[in-house]
């Protein structure tokens, strides 16, 4: 016979039980908000815009999506329903937080926090509050952490740079004993807005259509942004580690460390990039643009189709990317991008050029951060 859990006697304990049962649903709404979006998108033009050019990852761990959802932008009754102790309970987020006048006059369902606090180990957190219709006197505040932004770089021996014949094994290194987490995507205008607002700056991007687009900051600001969140601008050797697929992922200490020319194929000549180099009339296919957004591909942001072996996106093509290069400091730009034709020799892993650190309308440069978490 199935044993039934006893209904707690006090409202406080009942509240705790309901919140505990609702935790997976709260987590899903925050981390996988995109799953709640139906075909017709979102109805919150003042908060966040639904755009088919923008991948669904944009709506994950996204405070503006959270605001939209609880403001009724997806369904009339946004409450989370939990059946427990033979009763239905309805959870709701509370608009407890002051408006961000620069964006909207509406009270907010969240407040972004910069950690860490003593005992609360996070750099980026979203403070939210929940009530339950059936236990109305209590409110439970909680911090949702950003589980969507970065991804772990496994511990193993890695190559740096392009393979050069007759030069032996080339530079190799390892990250055993280190906990390195790399941003999956470029830092977006929306993320830079959060940073600016937390620092009291008013020069934020107001055009919501541009929020998912990579933020174009000069090098010192890129570094300041990453440092604010306890991170650093991505290193070139980490970029190579994340994009050069190991031959055998189970062997973390291989005898020979491979340096593939593309993330999805060891030999570039067998890819569309190689074909485009020898065939001037090469016609790009939709699949090519999924692998690497090069000149001739339509613009898309936050797409996850070009993901590398460890979970980072945009290893080739897309935007030029600023990198900190501790080995060859002058080679600080991944130049392969959507601004070069597929036949360009820049579209190859390990190829880098120099950037003076200043944005130029002819050469927009994106960036991302990484974090080393203390073991």
């Amino acid at each position: 016979m199935e044993s039934k859990a006893l209904r707690p006697e006090t409202p406080e304990k009942l509240f705790a039980q309901v919140i505990l049962s609702a935790q997976p649903k709260i987590q899903q709404l925050w981390e996988e908000g995109d799953r709640f979006i139906k075909k017709d998108g979102l109805n919150c033009p003042e908060e966040i815009i639904f755009d088919t050019k923008v991948g669904r990852s944009y709506y994950q761990c996204q405070p503006h999506f959270w605001q939209c959802y609880w403001s009724g932008g997806l369904k009339k009754d946004p409450s989370i329903k939990i059946d427990l102790f033979g009763q239905a309970f309805h959870l709701r987020a509370k608009p407890s937080f002051v408006p961000q006048p620069i964006l909207s006059s509406e009270p907010r369902y969240y407040e972004i926090l910069k950690g860490p606090y003593e005992g609360l180990n996070f750099h980026y957190g979203m403070l939210v509050e929940f009530t339950i219709d059936e236990v109305p006197e209590l409110t439970w505040p909680m911090i949702l952490t950003d589980t969507c932004r970065d991804v772990y770089l496994p511990e193993r021996i890695y190559p740096y740079g392009k393979s050069e014949a007759k030069k032996g094994e080339g530079v190799i290194w390892d990250n055993f004993g280190r906990r390195l987490f790399l941003d999956k995507f470029y830092v977006s205008n929306q993320q830079v807005n959060v940073w600016k607002m937390l620092n009291g700056r008013k020069d934020i991007e107001l055009d919501r259509k541009k929020w998912p687009v990579p933020a174009l900051l000069n090098l010192p600001e890129q570094k300041a942004y990453c440092s604010f969140w306890g991170k650093r601008l991505l290193d070139a050797n980490l970029f190579d580690a994340a994009s050069m697929t190991p031959v055998d992922q189970k062997m973390s200490k291989p005898d020979r460390v491979a340096r593939p020319q593309t993330p999805w194929q060891r030999d570039l000549s067998k890819t569309f990039l190689g074909m485009a180099r020898i065939n001037e009339d090469y016609q790009l296919t939709p699949l090519d643009c999924v692998l690497a957004q090069v000149e001739g591909c339509s613009e898309r942001y936050y797409s996850t189709d070009s993901v590398t072996w460890m979970g980072m996106n945009f290893p080739l093509g897309f935007y030029p990317e600023s990198l900190n290069n501790t080995i060859e400091p002058e080679k600080n730009l991944k130049a392969s991008s959507r601004f070069h034709p597929p036949s360009s020799e820049l579209h190859e892993l390990g190829i880098r050029t120099n950037w003076d650190g200043i944005q130029d309308s002819k050469l927009p440069v994106a960036f991302r951060c990484y974090e080393e978490v203390s073991p």
Binding site: F122, T139, M310
Partner: protein, 272 residues
């Protein structure tokens, strides 16, 4: 009227106080001798600090609930809980009246497990009251695995704060944590002088590799490998040989940017 007030007060005093501990960040100042579920019998008629529970309220202000017990002897046992600021020690308030007290106890037991705190009070009629508190926030660092995020590695995905009744204007306190200078002290012989506190660095931290698995670490940012700066960590495994590293003999665990060389200061590599 007075009667209603007294009933109200006694209800507050005797209500289960532990529900707010579900959002504890940790249990500290544990009594060094008492074991889980042991009936506390010694030292008789003396106040003891059993443990303290740390948690944050909705404004991110940290508090500590100290749990004291006067062990039964000539007199019956008393359990009391006192809420204090997080930076105070429980023993400083041990003899002050509790915010909540339970008198006439015959016995008391408690246990602190990974995600569960249990308290058991036996009163003069030998009736037992048991409080089981799930600890939502208490977190054990996992082994990192493929596709894990830093947030999942460092803490619970949702951090619960103290619930409250009625209306409250939320004004979350800004983090007041200041940069430490050195956040992880490692001796030349690779022994750990004090555990890492680098997770408290607001702007991250950097390591100076010293030939040990973990080198000394400092809060802040530097660009390793540049002129005058510490060398960057290259690792201790890529060499594919079992060996101990010493900067002067083999500095292959560190590297400098193109055109610079490693110079050792003790066992710490710098770039010149």
């Amino acid at each position: 009227m007075m009667m209603i007030f007294l009933i109200f007060i006694s209800n507050i005093l005797l209500a289960d106080p532990t529900w707010k501990w579900t959002n504890a960040i940790d249990v500290v100042e544990k009594h060094e001798f008492y074991h889980n579920n042991e009936i506390i019998q010694k030292p008789k008629d003396v106040w003891q600090t059993l443990f303290a529970v740390r948690y944050h309220d909705s404004n991110l202000k940290a508090f500590k609930d100290c749990v004291f017990y006067k062990v039964p002897g000539q007199e019956a046992g008393v359990l009391k809980i006192k809420t204090i600021a997080e930076n105070l020690k429980c023993e400083q308030v041990m003899y002050r009246p509790g915010d909540q007290e339970w008198n006439n106890l015959k016995a008391f037991q408690f246990s602190i497990q990974k995600n569960l705190l249990s308290l058991s009070l036996t009163d003069e009629k030998f009736e037992i009251t048991r409080w089981d508190v799930p600890l939502f926030n208490v977190f054990e660092k996992p082994v990192p695995k493929n596709l894990m995020s830093s947030a999942e590695y460092r803490s619970a995905r949702i951090l619960f704060l103290k619930p409250y009744k009625g209306k409250l204007v939320i004004r979350p306190e800004k983090s007041k944590i200041q940069n430490l200078k050195q956040c992880h002290m490692i001796a030349e012989d690779c022994s750990e002088i004090s555990p890492s506190r680098c997770h408290l660095c607001p702007q991250g931290w950097y390591e100076i590799p010293n030939g040990c698995g973990q080198g000394p670490k400092f809060c802040g940012t530097i660009t390793c490998g540049t002129k005058g700066a510490p060398a960057c960590r290259r690792g201790y495994v890529w060499q594919r040989k079992e060996q101990s590293f010493n900067c002067r003999e083999d500095s292959s665990f560190a590297y400098c940017g193109k055109g610079l060389q490693v110079q050792c200061e003790g066992n710490l590599p710098y770039c010149i």
